[in-house]
Subunit: 126 residues, 4 copies
DNA sequence: GTGGTCTAGACCACC
DNA sequence: GTGGTCTAGACCACA
């Protein structure tokens, strides 16, 4: 996996896991790869994965059954969705709007770029 | 000046300077406060300001006359504008779009929130 | 390590590292000493080494794996060679030539001095 | 006048003056511009010119007649020539030779570049 | 363990 | 006065 340089790796792993939960790859209560497997797969240090799992455990996004492994939480999908929605509306959007004002970029232009984006995604999926 | 905890101080100072350049407070080629003055004004260590100035010097946003002081670059405003625009179009927007798709939020809703944002700004300015 | 007084220490450390890369001591992609180790070894402050490493990182001569350490770049040797060659051909030689003209010293004399230099080096190596 | 960023301005002014002495523009004992005039002409701070003049005064390259002005020394040309020759043979050349060895550049290549250099100079002079 | 950042304070060359 | 460099020491996030 390719990691962004501007964000901690353990947080990027958390995003990766939440993506899987959101898109249905890992339904609520599903077992997820062990720390060791995940570390091998993502080519990172096991300590880094541990850090991610611990954080998501504290949030309730993951649960741990001793000696068996890690599982998604029983209400994981809803929680992730809500967390992201809050983050989006309260943090990301205001910052974005501020930039739009500074750069004098209107909603119209953003809308056009969005259409272009959706098109590109479609092409890639095919 | 109040600094955000999530971003390095020296980067926030850089943003602060670029804001000044963008809004016309410091036109192209204008002298800006000396390292010491800026440090006193922002209540940070001179070394931290030095770091910011050096970075912006390397970028070309600032220039430097020995023994005299730092000045905004001869083409500073355009450079900052372009830098921010690129950042917005190539980094911020794609991230936004990805989130919109994941959270199933449409352009319409974002547009409404934008209107609300502009309104709030208006109230604050009054 | 002994440092020259006429040049900044951090630049001399950079030269030192580039020498190691050029002579094959540190092949491309090789891990180099940590900032702390290098600082102890060269008897300078870690901040000074940090400054060197950061500069070479920006150039691409070094690369960096978070939490692990610094490494020579994947194409470090070629880059250093080219950088030095450019410096030589575009800066050093023209300055030399200008002086030769001013002082009315011909290629022949320089050639003789070069031979003498090579001889001396030979004696020292033995 | 355009100044190099890597060398102090006052030293570059000294070089400029020595060049004038060497090429005969200012013969031995000739009056040279006042500090104020030189500063205006070179677009630098008078203090900087003062520093240059003082240094050259100490060396004997310049002399000062109180209330009248600055003059080249009575033996200025020979002194400058000797100073430069020593600098060249004892400092510049060895450094250059070392680089040549490192970069594996031979006398032959340098000779060719020298011919090219002389040619370019000829074109520029015409 | 690693690097990244920040502070405090000092000295220097330079304009 | 200006910036450039260096030291000392500290704290933090990260792997």
């Amino acid at each position: 996996m390719q990691f962004n340089e501007q964000k901690s790796i353990y947080l990027q792993i958390a995003d990766y896991i939440c993506d899987k939960i959101l898109d249905g790859t890992w339904p609520d209560g599903q077992r997820i790869p062990s720390i060791r497997d995940m570390a091998v797969q993502l080519e990172v240090n096991p300590n880094t994965v541990t850090r991610t799992y611990t954080m998501l455990l504290d949030e309730g996004t993951l649960q741990n059954k001793r000696g068996i492994g890690y599982f998604t939480g029983d209400d994981a999908r809803r929680m992730v969705l809500e967390k992201r929605r809050n983050q989006f509306v309260e943090q990301d959007l205001p910052a974005l709007f501020k930039t739009m004002v500074t750069l004098d970029i209107g909603v119209g232009q953003v809308g056009e770029l969005y259409m272009k984006y959706l098109e590109e995604q479609n092409h890639e999926d095919k």
